[in-house]
């Protein structure tokens, strides 16, 4: 390995990881769908409450009565988020088992632990992004359904657009963070796999 210093590039760029992650999601859509649905449900709960709160404030400002989201509803939201994180962790762990051989093969082909880690985290970030956007859309519908009959459905037009955008960005970012947190442990296990064991693993 005399030429090691001159061509010592073992690299794996973010766009490569993105492309591979996208391929995995596209080709194993069933598992990805479960993850996305799980995250979307948690986020939809969160954004329903946040938007409901925003609608109530806009309603009060416009001279309507004072209404507010109950504390126990925030607790339910918290539980929903925890449940969705656990669901994603579980699904990603199964994905790691399914891919034992492929992970072993990739390591044979020169993948480093960090490449495998990145691959799983990128995949879950993509799922988190989609889940976050879907969840927010569901959240708008949920909030309108829970407030619209008392405040009127045009209440959404009375909330400043900037506030809605902020909630959208916030819940999507939170969705991505939660997906990554949920995938940390499975991704770490995948990265640390011994290639010899991974290759001899029979499904």
């Amino acid at each position: 390995m005399s030429e090691r210093d001159s061509v010592s590039r073992v690299q794996f760029k973010l766009d490569d990881a993105l492309r591979l992650g996208y391929d995995y999601i596209k080709r194993r859509l069933d598992r990805a769908t479960i993850n996305i649905a799980s995250i979307a449900l948690g986020i939809s709960f969160l954004s329903t409450l946040m938007l409901t709160d925003a609608f109530y404030r806009a309603y009060a400002l416009a001279g309507g009565g004072r209404l507010s989201v109950e504390t126990y509803q925030y607790w339910l939201m918290f539980v929903a988020l925890v449940v969705s994180v656990v669901g994603v962790t579980n699904a990603m762990l199964i994905a790691v088992y399914e891919r034992y051989r492929e992970i072993g093969t990739m390591k044979c082909l020169g993948a480093m632990d960090s490449h495998i880690l990145l691959l799983f985290l990128v995949e879950s970030s993509i799922q988190g992004t989609i889940g976050g956007v879907l969840g927010f859309i569901l959240g708008i519908i949920g909030a309108l359904l829970s407030t619209g009959f008392t405040t009127g459905f045009d209440i959404i037009l009375k909330v400043p657009l900037a506030e809605i955008l902020l909630l959208f960005v916030g819940s999507t970012v939170l969705s991505i963070i939660l997906s990554i947190v949920a995938t940390m442990y499975p991704a770490f296990r995948a990265a640390k796999l011994n290639p010899v064991e991974a290759l001899s693993y029979e499904l």
Partner: protein, 230 residues
């Protein structure tokens, strides 16, 4: 053709402890393999062929002894250097092909170039050439499930060559193929060995594969039983 040593194994041993019993998967293997040589490894199931490949490829650490590749002691390499070795220096071919199922033929072949940091266009171009050279220019965008066993092994061979390695390790490459397809794969590997000068080490039960090789290493119980000229 040069006759320098590319791989040197020195008293190589790998033991497994299984419930108080020591299994000697490799038990003192010493051999030198020349650049561009074609070596067949033959031996009954459990004689240590796969374990030997794992050692040469830096996938597993020996209990005792040394592996030198181009004069470098593999056990002294750090994680980064090991990845480099697997990526650039060695091409693996498996009995079960081990293609990445979500990727097409050309993407599978380009994957090692991705890990090597080769720009995407260049990697795909290289992959296309390699697939043509193994007779699959019409199958670039097929997925593994859309290919026959022989075609899958061809893709795997093209993938093994993606970073132009000096060494090809093939663990029973014809084990899952019928007679004729196996013959084609053997011819292909042999041709690569001759035309590109890749050092080819193949574990096999296949007599035709053995006959084509420069040397035949017979293994038994983790030891070299005898070495014959092909």
């Amino acid at each position: 053709m040069s006759f320098e040593t590319i791989i040197e194994l020195e008293e190589l041993a790998r033991y497994y402890e299984m419930g108080g019993v020591t299994i000697k998967a490799l038990d003192g293997v010493t051999i030198q393999i020349r650049r561009s040589e074609y070596v067949s490894i033959v031996g009954p199931s459990g004689s240590g062929k796969t374990t030997l490949f794992n050692m040469i490829g830096g996938l597993d650490r020996p209990t005792r002894g040394r592996v030198y590749i181009d004069g470098v002691d593999v056990s002294r390499l750090d994680a980064y250097e090991l990845a480099w070795l697997r990526c650039r220096k060695i091409g693996y071919i498996f009995q079960t092909f081990n293609l990445i199922q979500v990727l097409t033929a050309i993407e599978n072949v380009a994957l090692p170039t991705v890990f090597a940091g080769v720009p995407r266009d260049e990697g795909l171009e290289r992959a296309e050439k390699l697939l043509s050279s193994v007779g699959l220019s019409e199958r670039l965008h097929h997925r593994p499930t859309e290919l026959s066993a022989g075609q899958q092994q061809r893709v795997a061979i093209a993938r093994a060559m993606a970073n132009d390695p000096a060494i090809i390790l093939a663990d029973e490459p014809t084990g899952n193929l019928d007679l004729n397809t196996g013959m084609e794969i053997i011819d292909l590997l042999h041709g690569l060995n001759k035309t590109r000068g890749m050092t080819l080490i193949a574990a096999t039960h296949d007599l035709k594969m053995i006959k084509a090789s420069d040397r035949i290493v017979w293994m038994r119980d983790g030891k070299i039983e005898k070495i014959e000229r092909g």
